[in-house]
Amino acid sequence: MPVPFETSFAQALLDAERPIPNGVTAHNAADPTRRFAVYRNNVVAGLVRVLKDRFPVVERIVGEEFFGVMARVFVVERPPRSPLLATYGDDFAAFIAAFEPARELVYLADVARLEAARTRAYHAADATPLDADGFAALDAGLVTGIRIDLHPSTEIVRSPHPIVTIWAMNSGEREFAPVEKWHGEDALVIRPYLDVETRVLPPGGTAFLHALAGGLPLGKAADVALADCSEFDLSRNLAGLIGWGLAQEFIVPDSESPC
């Protein structure tokens, strides 16, 4: 049985080595290959543009030409599986990590993870963050037992490289300057209202937030964070949690069933 038109057309779109599909013709004597190439180009160039829009700092770091080549390889190897293009490129960072020509830029994949997290935060569900008054109003005796629902836009990206600094310098948020001390930065991405914010988590902050997200009460989450990092400072982390709009809700333990 002959291959259906749509199937042969689809197969030839992302594979420039394949002959153009049977039955694709031109009205004149022209070679239809040039005409079919319009579709090939629309598909590939269009998806490369989607990646450029989502990963502008990665593009800034490697340059337009390098980015274009890298993105084309990604598009052909891993085309989208959904018409929701806001999620396209969630695995671009993993691809970059294994992309041999970019190997010397050891931090590039983590910068891509940060940019992917920023788009997820942009599209995340809306919620109104709690302010400091809500926290101050809690019964001091109950504070260690409370659980904290984190804002739905919360994203954390751990890295052994100073990715927030690199991101900020290349996105125009901070002046270019030599990175004095090459150290790891754990990025916190949060969109409390309409603007996506990118910050560096304080020491132990990642373990603390993961513990809270996992449902541990505040006191136990602080223990976990301290075990992870001896420099963990609870009051500094709490100030960040409230000040950055990370808390969506405080769940006060039921006095009948203390945890």
Partner: protein, 285 residues
């Protein structure tokens, strides 16, 4: 009960977030805004905040680009459910999609790809439109495509194909005049002969956009539907001819790439509005 498409018969503009502040800063002489459905399927954030603000102030057209109605594969039910959620939330005056496919197998190609026009594909597309209209509980508009190749197995002229789909399913037409022009040039035919046979009484919206001009390897024109430049003079002329025949119809300026500043876009809409106003005066006279 099925919701009927009822955009105001005025000039509208494809919404770009970069224009949001300008648009909200004053009342705009714009009949409606159109958005691509797939850009508003996230959970929250600025896209919904902006769309909500626009919706409060203007008529709205939701234009899908990812349903793949022209595919021989079954429709993506999950995607249909997302479209329903979006339409239920914003209650647009119109929902439209394309006579094209964009997904095959597991892959979404992010482009409007051509299908052969045969009895078999006609039946399939009609089923997909029935399914979409039933799922959304509303009448949809179907847009004529711009195409770059001919397909040997096609046996039905495009206009006939569209007219029969519309008759069978009750859907109405979104007539993209730039697409008519681009396809006619690419296939060595004339846009007027296409428009002469088009079911103009079924048209509920018109699209106008810019195209690029390239050439094939014999030097024949190869026009690309890029939506990245002003509308061509020939397309304006065709538009005026159509509107003179039909009377005013909701008309969208589409400018998706190399997006200009808001005043430039608004001026394109004003040019369309002037042609619509001429037609109103002529029909009143």
């Amino acid at each position: 009960m099925s919701i009927v498409a009822n955009l105001p018969a005025r000039a509208g503009v494809g919404f770009k977030p970069v224009h949001f502040r300008d648009i909200l800063a004053a009342a705009q002489p714009i009949g409606f805004f159109e958005v691509h459905a797939e850009n508003y399927m996230g959970a929250g954030g600025p896209p919904h905040a902006q769309l909500g603000a626009l919706r409060e102030r203007y008529a709205l057209s939701v234009h899908g680009v990812g349903l793949s109605i022209g595919s021989m594969q079954p429709l993506d039910r999950e995607h249909l459910a997302r479209l329903k959620k979006l339409c239920d939330r914003y209650r647009p005056e119109s929902f439209s999609e394309h006579l094209a496919w964009s997904s095959h197998g597991e892959v979404y190609f992010n482009d409007l790809l051509p299908l052969p026009y045969t009895r078999q594909t006609l039946a399939r597309v009609a089923e997909h439109i029935d399914e979409t209209q039933t799922a959304l509980g509303r009448m949809m508009l179907l847009e004529n495509p711009s195409t770059y190749v001919r397909i040997a197995e096609s046996t039905i002229p495009e206009v006939e194909f569209l007219a029969e789909i519309s008759e069978r399913t009750g859907c109405r037409m979104l007539l993209d005049i730039n697409n008519v022009f681009v396809s006619a040039k690419n296939h060595g035919t004339t846009p007027l002969s296409y428009l002469d046979s088009f079911p103009l009484d079924r048209v509920r919206e018109i699209h106008l956009g810019g195209h690029d001009e390239e050439a094939d390897d014999t030097g024949a024109p190869l026009l690309i539907d890029t939506h990245g430049s002003p509308i061509a003079n020939e397309v304006w002329t065709l538009y005026a001819q159509v509107i003179a025949r039909t009377g005013p119809i909701a008309t969208l300026i589409e400018w998706d790439n190399d997006v200009p500043d808001w005043p430039t876009l608004r001026a394109e809409a004003s040019a369309a509005q002037a042609i619509l106003a001429d037609a109103s005066r002529a029909s009143a006279a």
